[in-house]
């Protein structure tokens, strides 16, 4: 087997050096009843050629984004990632290194993590950021837990227009702790700003909103931040489409106390949902409550500057049951991809990319507005908006998919109980969406709706 360098001669010589007759002599602690060869119905090993064929077969059973017109977002976005990014993250020294616990021979990783933290802080408009969490949804849950620790309160206010998966993950996290939850309902036409403000009390630890929200809508959360702060609550802002931060006012500028993002859009592919990249940024005064790793600058024994993982007394490997989170492995390589892509884009590139996305969405919305049986619900948006059809959305989306048009997310898939939204579709367009794609969508939709 090509991954196993030991030859039979090696094995024999090594067993002899150890002083056992065979490898079974090393497994003597294992109860005999449990020590046997596990094969079940698993297939025997395959050659590289055959493995490749099998994976090609499986990949071939999926309709990839490039195969047709594509308008799906809802928390994961199809963007162009320059070839340079994927090339660089595959450098052996990045791909096959471990967490940088030995800083003297991990400066490569630590250096980019410092850059990553700075980029994330700038992008979100916050003071500090960590070195990544699993993804946006778990970051959101960590943010809520952090708010509970900081405020020592138990009230949580959740916006109904938060991505339903994010809400579910937050609630799963909350299910363990004492808490009281208040929520607004999902509504593509309403930001929920007033209702949310009304729900904040003196017991509220945090209020969680999203921008652009699940339906694509943009809302100015500044007044909500003021209300929250006046009541001693924290404002947590979730961003699932980080490219929007190249065009839209930052959560920091809106007064957010904690910002969590799904960072996938920059540098990372769709990958059917993972691995993704959780961004986590906050105010410096909450530094010691941050979950996950932090990279900091320092000097070496010769006085040369360098970087280390720092403040690890927050972390499980030092603090164990007192840690701020149990996270260990994070999203290092995805963070690298993000850092490279954003370093390539720079301010100018990111802003242009954001403009392209916005224009692409506006063009798509304009084209759809012209259709009978389609109503665009979202007044202000970045690259995603919601439409309402004249009939239930799920069969329409399925019919479009059969025509190679992946047309968007039928809201009912994630909010099956919100029957009033069963005709709604969340539609995203990016820099990859071409006029041809739009024509395909409009054409197919006309056919299906007629």
């Amino acid at each position: 087997m090509r991954y196993l360098p030991l030859t039979d001669d090696d094995r024999r010589a090594m067993l002899q050096a150890i002083g056992v007759a065979d490898v079974d002599g090393l497994y003597t602690d294992v109860p005999a009843s449990a020590d046997w060869d596990v094969r079940g119905d698993l297939p025997d090993h395959k050659s590289e050629i055959e493995v490749e064929r099998e994976l090609l077969r499986l990949a071939g059973r999926n309709q990839s984004g490039g195969e047709g017109a594509f308008f799906l977002g809802a928390g994961a976005y199809r963007h162009h990632v320059p070839a340079t990014v994927d090339h660089l993250i595959q450098r052996s020294e990045f791909l096959t290194s471990y967490t940088p616990y030995q800083p003297e021979i991990s400066q490569g990783t630590l250096h980019y993590l410092f850059e990553f933290q700075t980029q994330v802080a700038m992008l979100t408009g916050m003071e500090v950021a960590n070195a990544s969490l699993y993804d946006g949804s778990t970051a959101a849950s960590e943010a809520v837990q952090m708010a509970l620790r900081i405020t020592k309160r138990s009230g949580i206010v959740l916006a109904g227009n938060l991505h339903p998966h994010y809400a579910a993950v937050i609630k799963t996290g909350l299910s363990i702790v004492d808490h009281s939850l208040s929520e607004t309902g999902p509504d593509p036409r309403e930001s929920g700003l007033q209702d949310l403000s009304d729900l904040i009390t003196d017991e509220t630890a945090c209020v969680v909103v999203q921008t652009p929200d699940f339906f694509g809508r943009l809302t100015d959360w500044r007044s909500l931040a003021e209300t929250a702060h006046a009541k001693g609550a924290l404002l947590i802002v979730v961003v699932t489409e980080v490219v929007s931060l190249g065009a839209v006012m930052s959560p920091g500028a809106m007064g957010a106390d904690i910002v969590v993002c799904e960072g996938q859009s920059i540098g990372n592919g769709l990958n059917f949902g993972g691995p993704y990249l959780g961004l986590f940024a906050t105010r410096k005064k909450f530094l010691r409550q941050i979950p996950g790793r932090l990279c900091g600058r320092t000097v070496d024994a010769d006085g040369r500057e360098g970087f280390v993982l720092t403040l690890s007394t927050r972390e499980q490997h030092i603090r164990r049951d007192k840690a701020t989170s149990n996270i260990c492995t994070n999203s290092g390589l995805c963070a690298l991809a993000f850092t490279i892509h954003l370093a390539l884009l720079g301010e100018a590139g990111l802003r242009k990319l954001a403009t392209l996305n916005h224009q692409s969405a506006v063009k798509t919305a304009t084209a759809l507005t012209a259709l009978d049986g389609v109503e665009v619900l979202t007044p202000a948006y970045f690259n995603e908006f919601t439409i309402r059809l004249d009939r239930p959305a799920e069969p329409v989306i399925a019919a479009l998919a059969a025509r190679k048009v992946i047309a968007g997310l039928p809201v009912a898939r994630l909010l099956p109980d919100a029957t009033e939204l069963s005709r709604d579709v969340v539609i995203a367009a990016t820099e990859l969406t071409s006029d041809t794609d739009r024509d395909a969508l409009v054409g197919a939709l006309k056919e299906v709706l007629k």
Binding site: A13, I18, D37, I105, Y112, E305
Partner: protein, 528 residues
Amino acid sequence: MNRQGRQSRQEAGTEHVGAEALETFSGHRGLDREERLIFEIGDLEKTGVDLPEPEEGFGSCLGGLEREEPIGLPGLSEPEAMRHFVRLSRKNYAIDLGLYPLGSCTMKHNPRLNERMARLAGFADLHPLQPEATAQGALELIDTVAHWLTTLTGMPAVAMSPKAGAQGELCGLMTIRAALVARGDARKRVLVPESAHGTNPATAVACGYEVDAIGATEDGRVDLDAFMERLDEDVAAVMITNPNTCGLFERDIKKIADAVHEAGGFFYCDGANYNAIVGRVRPGDLGVDAMHINLHKTFSTPHGGGGPGSGPVVLSEALAPYAPLPFVVKEGDAFRLVEDPAAAEAIGAKPFGRLTAFHGQMGMFVRTLTYMLSHGGDGLRQVAEDAVLNANYVGARLEDLLTKSFPGPCMHEVLFDDGFLKDTGITTIDFAKAMIDEGLHPMTMYFPLVVHGAMLIEPTETESKHELDEMIHIIRSLALAAKEGDSERFKAAPSLAPRRRLDETAAARSPVLRWEPAHSGEALQAAE
């Protein structure tokens, strides 16, 4: 800010320069280059991505929420970016450079076939919320990986979505919690051995439990007596790592499992060390109720710089119904995702909730399946056996000079303590840093906590005898040097790496966690 690192000299240097003591004008040293931050070389106007031109005079629909102030993000041209990151990469150690004997981390070879497969458009360019009919291959793949994991572990079910081992632990404990709640049994404690990985107690607490730490015996196993003493009707679960973090198989594992079951609790097994037994021992046969498997360890998915991972959790019959959303079911020839509580209930499941958006680490599943098919059902056992053989060989070749903490064969990793450094003035960390100068990554240090100055060596099965022999030669040479009092070599180490020892205390005392533009004054200081 001087980021040139090594001292640089002014143009008119005249002193005599000897070979390696040479100070360079540039601060670089041959192929070993210093590099600055992108914020110091980039430019707000520059970009390394050529995009189509946006249309001019296009009316925006941003609702007046334009981001007006500069963000501050520097851009690099493509050649500059390439250099920056290539130069940085060269300051890292990596599996591809040499042995990475980090105990508990299973740093094995990451096959490039896996990378190629994960990049097939059919996997990489696939949206998690596409209509199921357009993603049947992806769902089949998840189902196939699940089948491998349940077969190999002898467990009836698996939750695929956890994003890494720690989240797998959370998943396992939440499943246990849900099962207990379902029977109206609100238990409060989780027993965790002292030797456990930090994520175990952290997870137990995150799951709302109190941690009760169990000591270790002389021979590095869970203290069965202490365990029995603490075990009562208030114990929700015991979390045991097996093989444990001393690299030993828990001989009493079945007794422990039986006892905890008898007491109405569950047995959570930390499967981070599954590499020692994969294909040979089924955790299901040992009475395990839940166990996470770090795919990025045993199944070789790369996690450069610290992630990403993937931590599916295999579950016993008793726990299976409580597995979190989502999961894949097969109906006839078609695969379907169960994504919401109603759909789950319809098929009799009682998921405790959802751990993450979407469906888990698909990119890792592709790599894992590629790896599984390559080794085959007939071949994985050899992985475990070679891993164990390699660790024992290292143990056998070092035990006369170093202090092996526990007698007898070990599993996939071998534990030493700092006994052999007694009276030398050299500590475990000094020893480790001297290994860096010799071209090796150190072993895991000071973990597990049950021995003094721990040195935990896990070579993995993808090391050749030649590489092992070289590591053994290096460690032996260093051990002799230590014993002979060559302490300068250790205290000064590393001196040949891109950096010498870094001041971690200073870093934590006044944290500088981001670059700040010079004009905004001194770098960010933590405010407390």
